[in-house]
């Protein structure tokens, strides 16, 4: 693909068009400069083509701007489309969390996904923290059973409880933490692919 920046844009000197593109430009912040340039050039090209054939230039400019819609909304569509596509292919918990956070604002399904994300990554993180604490306080960190309670991690009175894993604590918890992280990532990828709004009509 040729670099869109290097191509001189059509000298379309209409204040409304320039103002529209300026608003779109600022609404698209967050995308890379290259992506932004590409979108702006395409929209500019579209406006120029739509207006070119029209007899009443004024009305044509008015019309195409109305059909493109509010620049904030148009930018939002671009962002939503890209974010979901990227996230559904990503293995990065950060990107998945960010996307799910945005999705949760749109409705119930997104909130369920966010709950899955927070719960799954939360458990994985908590387990990882106990792994760090284990060498520091070997006698207090473990999987504890006592008084009808099962505790994973640190307890205040280890002498009153029974530790179940012993020397297996680290390998078992490593596998569990890893399993939660991977399981949550896969679940979110699946949720985003099959349940997220792919288009905002």
């Amino acid at each position: 693909m040729t670099n869109p920046v290097s191509i001189s844009a059509e000298p379309l000197t209409d204040a409304r068009v320039e103002s529209y593109l300026a608003q779109l430009d600022s609404a698209l912040r967050g995308l890379s400069t290259e992506e932004k340039q590409d979108i702006l050039l395409e929209i500019r090209s579209h406006i120029a083509d739509s207006v070119a054939a029209a007899r009443d230039r004024e009305a044509a400019v008015e019309r195409v701007i109305r059909l493109l819609g509010d620049p904030q909304e148009l930018a939002q569509r671009y962002k939503a489309e890209r974010m979901l596509t990227r996230a559904s292919r990503s293995f990065s918990p950060l990107l998945l969390l960010r996307t799910t956070w945005g999705w949760a604002k749109l409705g119930m399904k997104g909130m369920v996904a966010l709950f899955v994300a927070l719960f799954g990554y939360g458990v994985a993180l908590a387990l990882t923290i106990t792994l760090i604490l284990k060498p520091i306080m070997p006698s207090r960190v473990g999987v504890w059973w006592g008084h009808g309670d099962l505790n994973v991690g640190m307890v205040d009175h280890p002498e009153r409880m029974h530790e179940l894993l012993g020397q297996w604590y680290v390998p078992v918890i490593v596998v569990l933490a890893f399993g939660f992280a991977v399981g949550t990532t896969q679940a979110l990828r699946w949720l985003i692919r099959s349940r997220a709004p792919r288009q905002i009509y």
Partner: protein
């Protein structure tokens, strides 16, 4: 965790697009419009409007084109045009052609089945 998620709906992971067939009509129409030739955005809009009376707003089209490209179904190139400004042409990648074909087949099956169901209704009306 998976079973809990799967229980809230159909769960064919590999073919999630099929479940979204109706919602994805627009996507299908856009891919179909590019079956025969490379087009730029405005031409896609015109093709849809002329061939299938499908009027979609430009504010809807461009973000979808952008996503289809990000998904690897479309490829694009800027071409300097006589009009004095460049145009961004889109065409189907091999994956895009495959997807368009799958969608056309699924759509065909779907509409044939529904047509059979609708026939009595239309038959009564015509009489």
């Amino acid at each position: 965790m998976y079973s809990a998620i799967n229980s809230n709906g159909n769960s064919d992971r590999g073919q999630h697009w099929e479940a979204q067939l109706r919602k994805g009509c627009l996507e299908m129409a856009i891919l179909a419009s590019l079956w025969q030739s490379r087009l730029y955005g405005l031409e896609v809009l015109r093709a849809l409007s002329e061939k299938s009376q499908l009027e979609i707003a430009e504010g809807t089209l461009y973000p979808i084109l952008s996503r289809l490209k990000a998904q690897g179904l479309l490829q694009s190139e800027w071409v300097e045009a006589e009009a004095g400004h460049p145009r961004k042409y889109y065409w189907l990648t091999p994956a895009g052609r495959r997807r368009a074909r799958e969608m056309a087949e699924a759509w065909n099956e779907f509409s044939t089945n529904l047509s059979a169901l609708m026939q009595p209704i239309l038959g009564v009306k015509q009489r």
